[in-house]
Symmetry: C2
Subunit: 210 residues, 2 copies
Amino acid sequence: MAELPSSIRKVIESFERLPGVGPKSAARLAFYLLATPKSFVEEFAQTILTMKATIKKCRQCFGVAEAEVCDICSDPKRNQRQICIVERALDVIAFERAGGFGGVYHVLGGVINPLDHVGPEDLTIEALLNRVEKLRQLEGVIEVVIATNPTMEGEATALYIKDQLNRRFGELVGKVIKITRIGSGLPMGADVEYADQATLSRALEGRREL
Amino acid sequence: MAELPSSIRKVIESFERLPGVGPKSAARLAFYLLATPKSFVEEFAQTILTMKATIKKCRQCFGVAEAEVCDICSDPKRNQRQICIVERALDVIAFERAGGFGGVYHVLGGVINPLDHVGPEDLTIEALLNRVEKLRQLEGVIEVVIATNPTMEGEATALYIKDQLNRRFGELVGKVIKITRIGSGLPMGADVEYADQATLSRALEGRREL
């Protein structure tokens, strides 16, 4: 069997390291770039490098930002006292696309996952507590909406954050500081017949009066 | 809805232009690169640019090459008189992975497809005819294995190539110049019950004595 030139093999290996790209897609992507005009490929590489050079983590919410503080955190129309906690910066985009949320975000940077050696100290939980502490010194109710994924790790992380808020703010929780969890149940357009048990139980638990 | 920083949007748009990458995967890839060490991203961009700078089209077969002529065409152990015609350079890799083919290749660069405005003159068919012409001046049988995909366009292109060979080499075809087409039928591991009609008809037509 003839070997691929090493420069192509390296590109395929690079693509394979990206999430959701298997060996076959990686090869297809590499050969696509080979057949594509040089100007597009150079632009492609350049946009990636530019992004990497210009995007920082927002100092307040750890989402993506072009300045020290991101557009959402610095928007005066946003309610700074309503903080939606998400796992990843990409989740912020998902909520923004859905629309309807007028508060701000807090990006954890992942979830607690002992198997992957991710502990609470690897996430931005301490920064969240300090953020709430600062808000508490001003008047008004604070709402912390925990929007980690409804997976085992996401649920455990949600409980851990609730615990930490309770430990730090004690009796303020439930009065000045409201902790909520995003709803879980059947996704829109789903079919009860095909839903798994855990989702159905959650849907029942989360039933609301019509 | 808050907008994404433009440098991220540009990366997402670049990824979306790649084959098989939809808007969601494109966003996931962009955010993956954002969260990844700068050194990896720089290496990623660099390997792509290096590939683009070092890889040429083989002068003989139009496959990928680091020199004027590719490793397969310049391999003295390969039978230069057995030419497997494929649509894309990636198809060469597929055949090489499968192993067992000791000849050389000819990459068409696509298939005849009027809807996409791809005519025979956009492919390397003329170069193929010249290649066969040169081989014909030496002693021995030439085999042209047409391995375009068994799609409508691939079949039409196969017939067109056969026609052109007939027109150019007349009565040599079938004697000195053998034209073959790769087998088509049920793929290994498939199930007759679930096969489509066209595949089943082809499998019957292509039956062989055991």
